[in-house]
């Protein structure tokens, strides 16, 4: 179980997390759902160790062993699709590139540059890169934004097959329906509905 206790974080005058306490499952696929700007991304960033909280504690997560998918794709314009996967793989796992391209349904696009990809393709590549990096916990911020529902469903099942716990944020009903647990949130400050 991932235990969040009394987490507090402010951006200037805006309190995003106000003594938030929450228990999240550490297996299966967990979704955090809520309106834009309610603080879901901030919570994921705190879990990944990318944004330090002002006070409170998180247990059950090692930030150094998480894989975080940013809300933006953050692809490198000068690297090809295949190179994006290679960049996060250790040398011994370089042979996995075709299977990660298949994971993202980007077979045949290995030599393409991000500028040649559609928004959905770029998102799938960003997700595949994050999943290829791997870790004890995958933290995915809007992983299927711009991806059609059918494909998102297929990719979600592939994520499940990776056998690593996943916490994701999403607004898409089709995605939420396939998750093992859904936390409905509101804010700011972030709170369970």
């Amino acid at each position: 179980m991932i235990q969040i206790r009394d987490l507090t974080l402010r951006y200037g005058d805006k309190t995003v997390l106000d003594r938030l306490s929450l228990d999240l499952p550490d297996e299966g696929i967990t979704a955090l759902s809520g309106p834009s700007g309610c603080g879901k991304t901030t919570l994921l960033r705190v879990l990944a160790g990318l944004t330090p909280s002002e006070s409170g504690a998180v247990s059950g997560v090692d930030p150094g062993r998480t894989a975080f998918l940013f809300q933006e794709d953050r692809l490198l314009p000068w690297r090809t699709v295949g190179q994006h996967i290679v960049d996060v793989l250790p040398k011994a796992r370089r042979g996995e590139v075709p299977s990660w391209l298949a994971f993202a349904e980007l077979e045949g696009e290995g030599g393409a540059y991000p500028a040649a990809l559609s928004g959905g393709m770029a998102r799938r590549l960003a997700l595949a890169r994050c999943a290829a990096l791997g870790g004890d916990l995958l933290l995915l911020d809007e992983p299927f934004a711009g991806v059609d529902e059918e494909r998102a469903g297929r990719m979600l099942e592939r994520l499940r097959a990776l056998d690593a716990p996943v916490i994701l944020t999403s607004h898409q009903t089709a995605v939420l329906e396939r998750c093992d647990a859904v936390f409905r949130l509101d804010g700011p400050p972030l709170r369970l509905v």
Partner: protein, 249 residues
């Protein structure tokens, strides 16, 4: 089709013909080759020069000196830019010094360096000193413009420092570096030749320029100046092509 080609040829040919005509007319009105030789006299002097081995050797040695200066100035400028970007102390200590180098007139540097360095090395030292602040400025601006989101991604995805340098910093810097290097090349070329004129080494375009001036060989002076301009334009074009090819690769 043919009319279009003819138009293009005219567009290319008319400007030089026009300016050669202006030059010839001015030389005709001045009437003294010592003050202003005409294009034909200069072309003749150039042909005579090009027939000597000394001409080619002088040009080659000047090229070597300028490129040596460009190389060390570029390496030092880029290294200093990284140092001042990542270390506040280095920035506090070195940034004012680099700005002083940028603001110092090239002639002051030539005369100062003349006191400290053997004559043959002065042009390369001066060219490098002129290149250094330009490259430092462009690389510093490039480093400041690197996308912080990509750097955060590199940290989150556990990229090593070397990988972050190779995959994010260097490609992000390419545009700034390319424009800086092209500007720096022009400066290196002009300052290198100026140093050769003031502190003439044994074989150099600048030395020949100075010798022509002292011997009142004005057509030769013009011929060497033409050589300097032609080499500068040619090499800048070559460098631009090389850099463009590098960007495409």
């Amino acid at each position: 089709m043919w009319a279009e080609r003819l138009k293009n040829c005219m567009r290319i040919a008319i400007p030089p013909v026009f300016w050669l005509g202006v030059w010839q007319l001015a030389a005709f009105f001045v009437g003294r080759e010592l003050l202003l030789p005409g294009p034909l006299a200069v072309a003749k002097a150039l042909c005579v020069l090009a027939g000597t081995g000394d001409f080619w050797l002088s040009a080659l040695m000047t090229l070597v000196r300028v490129f040596l200066g460009l190389a060390w100035g570029t390496a030092a400028g880029a290294a200093l830019a990284f140092l001042t970007h990542f270390s506040r102390w280095a920035s506090a200590l070195l940034s004012p010094a680099v700005k002083v180098v940028r603001a110092t007139p090239v002639v002051s540097f030539i005369l100062l360096v003349y006191l400290w360095v053997v004559r043959a090395a002065i042009p390369a030292v001066i060219a490098g000193l002129m290149v250094l602040p330009v490259i430092w400025g462009s690389v510093t601006a490039g480093l400041a413009a690197v996308d912080p989101q990509l750097l955060e991604m590199a940290g989150a995805y556990r990229f090593s420092r070397l990988r972050t340098l190779r995959l994010i910093y260097l490609p992000s810097l390419r545009g700034h570096f390319t424009s800086g290097l092209l500007t720096a090349f022009g400066l290196a070329w002009k300052s290198g030749v100026a140093a050769e004129v003031i502190c003439p080494p044994v074989r150099a375009i600048g030395s020949r320029l100075q010798a022509a001036r002292l011997a009142l060989e004005t057509p030769e002076l013009f011929a060497w100046t033409l050589v300097i301009i032609a080499l500068s334009l040619l090499l800048e074009r070559l460098l631009r092509r090389l850099l463009e090819r590098g960007e495409r690769a």
